[in-house]
């Protein structure tokens, strides 16, 4: 398909751009296959706006007389207005944007065309893989092994090619267990707690169905996880009623009689459409201009977003508690095992694992638990809060994760090595990106399309020395302890950095952040001076003896 077919008017002069934080400016608007380009006509200032069309969630046009206004609402919640002279031009631009921004054909998306000079396609793609991780985890070797049973993605299309499973379970058992789990997502290891050897596993729901089917291999697999003796917990992210209902459609849950050493806990987390609608309502509430306190609080409550944050964090806390305090292994699953399951396992790891709180560790955690574990980004992040399109598979699960991570960072401002900027960047990149990282729904699709060969990797990019600095938390101090979030509603807040990002207020916060950096840097510099001075004072000591002698001499 040719992009040019959709571009009826490529250039318009004398367009006025209005956007947050900047005075409105006049300039030239240009539509290309992937971008909306705007540059002012001043020779000396080279200010440009380069907006990825994929980032556009909705556009609205209003024609008044011979000119028109296009309102562009982006997936990162920014809203821009373009005043375009000429009705026809305005309509042309609007229809081009509409057509180009809703392309769903992955190989034609921008990451496949993004070729910056300082990046090479030869560079490493991704931070690590299950295989690589496993080679570094010797303590796992006597009970766990790497299985390549899914190397051609035939057992489970949404899993990566390699997974970690109990050593005592052979591949044949895995194949059979996979058939018993929805989408083939059989229980695999996602976190090993080296303090006490306990693990977090994840899977999808078992397909017990209405007539309570059993699967010997699945039971064996789980038995092998807890090594026969003790007890394990299954945290089901559905209510027990929902789990019961799932049996009618072939799904189900692990019954007590068949999995006697596992104890099921149900924690209802919202997913899918409900979550998407919650986001839409919240964004609508944030944009409300009525200035009425009651209206705001009732809309905030009505959106239920903070309730979702609350439930997610408490469930993650529960999982972390089982592993860290109670000393038991946990299996987490919902129905598909690709949404709320990942939400819970990721946050639980962040709470108990200091490694995952570093910048690199966190990105690796996301790569492992979201990209490689098959969260369907392409479907979930197709549209954001402004879109008028009919909802399909959209759901802001990843955004909810970032929000929860932000809540953690508020409660433990020294514990995370990365800062809010990183979370904001990730929120943006998940919906529209120059990079291939968030493309596709799973590893199988990525391999089929050659994503790793033909696009650049976001995580690698963010870790480059030139980028890295801006995502660091100046106050970071490593701690080996678990960070238990407080989940009382009074301690959870609206993520204003994201939801109110384009308001005046955000700038004050940015300035305050800068100030913190300055203070910390001053401290680091001066602390350096102090080291020097300590050394100097040592030098001074013998000298002062001489000095004293001299003084005495003078007196004499």
């Amino acid at each position: 398909m040719e992009f040019s077919e959709h571009i009826k008017t490529a250039n318009v002069e004398d367009v006025i751009l209005r956007q947050p934080f900047r005075p409105s400016i006049k300039g030239t608007l240009c539509v290309t296959g992937h971008h909306l380009l705007f540059s002012d006509r001043e020779e000396d200032s080279s200010w440009q706006l380069l907006l990825l069309l994929r980032n556009i969630d909705a556009i609205e046009k209003r024609i008044t007389g011979s000119s028109g206004t296009i309102t562009i609402k982006c997936k990162d919640l920014c809203v821009l207005h373009l005043d375009i002279p000429g009705m026809e031009q305005c309509l042309n631009i609007a229809s081009s944007i509409e057509a180009l921004s809703s392309f769903e054909n992955i190989p034609e998306m921008y990451p496949f065309f993004h070729r910056p000079q300082d990046l090479s396609l030869e560079d490493t793609w991704g931070l690590s893989s299950t295989e690589e991780d496993f080679t570094h985890m010797q303590e796992l070797y006597d009970r766990w092994r790497l299985s390549l049973v899914n190397s051609d993605f035939s057992i489970c299309p949404s899993y990566p090619s390699a997974v970690i499973v109990p050593r005592s379970v052979d591949d044949e058992t895995l194949v059979k267990a996979a058939r018993f789990r929805q989408g083939g997502r059989f229980p695999v290891l996602c976190y090993y707690h080296s303090k006490n050897g306990m693990v977090i596993m994840r899977s999808s729901q078992p397909m017990t169905g209405a007539n309570r089917k059993r699967c010997r291999e699945d039971e064996l697999l789980l038995q092998a996880v807890i090594d026969g003796s003790e007890l394990g917990y299954i945290v089901d992210t559905r209510s027990s009623q929902q789990a019961q209902q799932a049996r009618m459609t072939g799904g189900g849950f692990e019954s007590k009689s068949c999995y006697s050493h596992w104890k099921r806990l149900h924690r209802h987390l919202e997913r899918g459409k409900v979550l998407q609608e919650s986001l839409i309502k919240l964004v609508e509430a944030c944009g409300d201009q009525s200035h009425s306190m009651d209206r705001w609080l009732s809309k905030l409550e009505n959106s239920k977003w903070l309730s979702h944050v609350h439930c997610t964090l408490s469930t993650a806390g529960l999982v972390a508690e089982c592993v860290e305090r109670d000393g038991h292994s946990v299996l987490v699953h919902g129905s598909d095992g690709t949404d709320t399951t990942l939400l819970v396992t990721t946050l639980a790891q962040l709470i108990v694992d200091p490694q995952s709180r570093t910048l690199r560790g966190f990105l690796r955690l996301l790569e492992k638990e979201w990209i490689q574990a098959g969260h369907p980004f392409q479907q979930r992040c197709a549209h954001s809060a402004y879109s008028h399109a009919r909802l399909k598979q959209e759901s802001p699960v990843f955004l909810l994760l970032l929000d929860c991570v932000w809540q953690l960072s508020r409660q433990f401002p020294l514990a995370l090595e990365f800062n809010e900027m990183l979370l904001l960047r990730l929120a943006q990149e998940a919906y529209a990106s120059d990079f291939g990282t968030f493309l596709c729904n799973c590893e199988q699709e990525r391999c089929a399309l050659g994503v790793k060969e033909k696009t650049h990797c976001l995580f690698q990019f963010l870790l480059r020395p030139s980028e890295r600095e801006q995502f660091l938390n100046p106050l970071y101090e490593h701690t080996d302890l678990a960070i238990w979030p407080c989940v009382q509603p009074q301690s959870l807040h609206l993520w204003s950095g994201f939801f109110l990002r384009w308001t005046e207020h955000a700038q004050n916060m940015e300035e305050a952040r800068q100030e913190i950096w300055t203070i910390v840097n001053q401290y680091r510099e001066k602390a350096g001076v102090e080291e020097t001075s300590q050394a100097l004072s040592k030098h001074c000591e013998p000298l002062s003896v001489v000095e004293n002698l001299m003084e005495e001499l003078t007196v004499l």
Binding site: S307, R410, G528, A535
Partner: protein, 644 residues
């Protein structure tokens, strides 16, 4: 002392109000404090509650473990004791009932409190804040405004201070006439002068206009105010009440200014509710946030239904209106409500805070409170229930003001020299009656009580601990370019002030505090600079040239400066408490974990089974706990320890 029947009760349980945790200890009753000391010998937790802080004591019905006693404090501490013997409980209860209701000012703590200062130091403390100097700083007296001696003997208005500033053209007969037409004689006087535009902020009480009454002197007074400002042809008259309330007042012979009678005024209602509405609103808010296992939905609905944030926003909105009228339009504004000592004080002081960066400094903020609240007669004694009085007069008007300021500090993190800790300390002492500043209802009463001779000033005390109240992000340069703050009035920027209303609820607080950390860094910075300089000087003296020596890795072992022990500054206070924190949280998740399990099957998930020592917060503790002596007055202990 004669009121104390049982000075000591042992084996008393203190229950956490949000979890099932409790600790056992001994309860002591002294003349000034209720003290709870944990029995655990290694690191006993102590709680000191000043009698003046206690708002209510409630004895609940007897249970199997003992007799529960619930004490609610004005600083939002809620303690829940269980006393084993009913008789002891009743003794404590009845003693407290008497102790927390002093009948005369002489019984208040301020008159017995002695911080070991001599008379000279005490006097110096009282001289720290000088309102005449403050008016001079504003540029008053000037060619349009003068000091009047009409109230020197408190003859015109009992509740105003002696020194008042009025327009030059307002003669004594006009003042006296006007005062007779104003409720409680509170005629229009200057409270803030915006030098740049020569615009004035004046305050008064409502006119006694009824349905049709007029007063020529009062009309002249307003005209004089208008004429004193050449920038604007009119004066704004802000009635901070809702229109309905003002209308109702007309039936009682009071009311508001009729625009037809007063030339050149623009009249405006603002709609801040009265003290009774505010009292009920705070009550509702505290009920909501005091609920155990509160759900997000109930929390947000409760927040909305309490109306508290709506009232806070109304006050801020009014202050913004005032600041805009003065700074943008250059118009003078006259503010009043009914008596001109509650809502008027809120709006005038908050408006001035928005306009003048000086009031955003520690010293300036004290001046502001001294001027608009203390000297102009906000009825602290009645509103804060200092003596056993009319409960209908009690209202959190000043608390609201402090919260409005906090909301602004949240919007402008770099505009204030002080941190929220400072606001909370002021709130603490407004109710503690430990210092003389807030005693009584007006200046005249304070003079009669000989406050300055017999008590100490809070301001001197706070200034001596200034380093604890600094906002490390404060940037005075910003105020030079943008002196006037323009806060957003969008409701999403008004938040629940957890650190005020949950000050003492351990489980509610973040475990690490940015504020404390940065404060420490800045202090270290200053110290390091000093050391470096002395050493450099020494070297120069010795004739040695400085050469850089090696690179440095920051060490955390350095002794940290003393910090007040407070939850809002994050981090557990001791290892013991760190563990307790752990267990509390355990309980939070633990409870949930058991919810949908059949009874009896929860035996496997024992709270005891987890090892709290292993995952306690030793490092956090090591980093944050200050080894030095705690500040004399700390929130944890409520008041000075040395006095007991």
């Amino acid at each position: 002392m004669e009121h104390i029947r049982t000075p000591k009760v042992e084996q008393v349980k203190l229950q956490d109000r949000f979890s099932n945790k409790s600790i056992t200890g001994t309860l002591y009753l002294t003349a000034t404090h209720l003290i709870f000391v944990e029995s655990n010998s290694t690191s006993a937790q102590e709680i000191w509650i000043l009698h003046h802080h206690i708002a209510s004591v409630e004895k609940l019905s007897l249970t199997t473990t003992g007799c529960p006693l619930v004490i609610q404090c004005r600083n939002f501490r809620v303690v829940h004791f269980v006393v084993p013997r009913e008789r002891d409980c009743h003794d404590v209860y009845s003693s407290l009932l008497r102790l927390l209701r002093p009948v005369s000012y002489e019984e208040l703590y301020a008159f017995s409190y002695n911080p070991k200062q001599n008379d000279e130091q005490r006097e110096e403390g009282w001289q720290l804040i000088d309102l005449a100097a403050e008016f001079e700083r504003m540029g008053v007296p000037c060619d349009q405004w003068q000091l009047t001696d009409v109230n020197r003997e408190y003859k015109v208005c009992e509740t105003y201070p002696r020194d008042l500033y009025v327009p030059i053209t307002a003669s004594k007969p006009i003042i006296v006439g006007s005062s007779k037409f104003r409720s409680k004689g509170r005629f229009p006087v200057l409270t803030y002068f915006y030098q740049e535009k020569k615009a004035a902020v004046c305050r008064c009480s409502q006119p006694l206009s009824g349905f049709s009454a007029r007063c020529l002197e009062d009309e002249h007074m307003l005209q004089a105010i208008s004429r004193a400002n050449h920038n604007s042809r009119f004066v704004y008259v802000m009635d901070t009440r809702p229109k309905l309330n003002a209308l109702a007042n007309r039936a009682a012979g009071k009311g508001y200014e009729n625009e037809d009678n007063y030339s050149n005024i623009r009249f405006q209602f603002v709609g801040i509710e009265n003290i009774h509405v505010m009292r009920a609103s705070l009550q509702k808010l505290l009920e909501v946030v005091g609920t155990r296992a509160l759900s997000m939905t109930d929390y947000l609905q409760g927040l909305e239904n309490s109306g508290w944030l709506r009232h806070i926003k109304a006050v801020v909105d009014a202050a913004i209106f005032l600041a805009k009228a003065v700074t943008v339009e250059g118009a003078s504004v006259l503010v009043h409500c009914s008596d001109g000592w509650d809502r008027t004080a809120q709006v005038c002081s908050l408006g001035a805070l928005l306009m003048d960066p000086y009031y955003r400094t520690i010293k300036g903020f004290m001046v502001l409170i001294e001027k608009d609240w203390i000297s102009f007669g906000h009825k602290f004694a009645d509103r804060c229930d200092q003596l056993d009085g009319d409960s209908k007069e009690v209202s959190p008007v000043f608390t609201q003001f402090l919260e409005c300021v906090w909301q602004l500090t949240e919007q402008f993190p770099q505009a204030f020299e002080f941190s929220e800790w400072f606001l909370i300390q002021i709130h603490e002492h407004v109710h503690s009656c430990q210092f003389g500043n807030f005693l009584g209802n007006n200046q005249r009463q304070r003079e009669e009580l000989q406050i300055k001779e017999r008590t100490y000033s809070l301001w001197a005390h706070l200034l001596s601990e200034k380093q604890n109240y600094l906002n490390p992000l404060y940037n005075p340069i910003l105020a030079e370019t943008n002196p006037v703050l323009e806060p957003s009035t969008q409701p999403c920027f008004f938040k629940f002030w957890r650190n005020m209303y949950h000050q003492f609820d351990r489980s509610m607080h973040p475990r690490q505090s940015i504020l404390k950390h940065i404060l420490t860094l800045t202090e270290n910075n200053r110290e390091l600079e000093k050391t470096a300089q002395t050493l450099k000087a020494k070297l120069q003296k010795l004739g040695v040239s400085t050469s850089p020596l090696g690179l440095y890795t920051p060490s955390r072992e350095r002794a940290l400066p003393p910090r007040p022990q407070s939850l809002i500054l994050g981090a557990p206070l001791s290892r013991k408490e760190a563990q307790q924190d752990e267990e509390e949280e355990e309980a939070v998740f633990g409870e949930e974990a058991r919810e949908d399990e059949p009874p009896g099957s929860d035996g496997e998930r024992t709270v005891e089974g987890s090892s709290a020592t292993e995952n306690g917060y030793p490092e956090l503790q090591g980093t944050f706990e200050s080894k030095s002596e705690p500040a004399i007055v700390s929130l944890e202990f409520g008041v000075a320890r040395m006095t007991c």
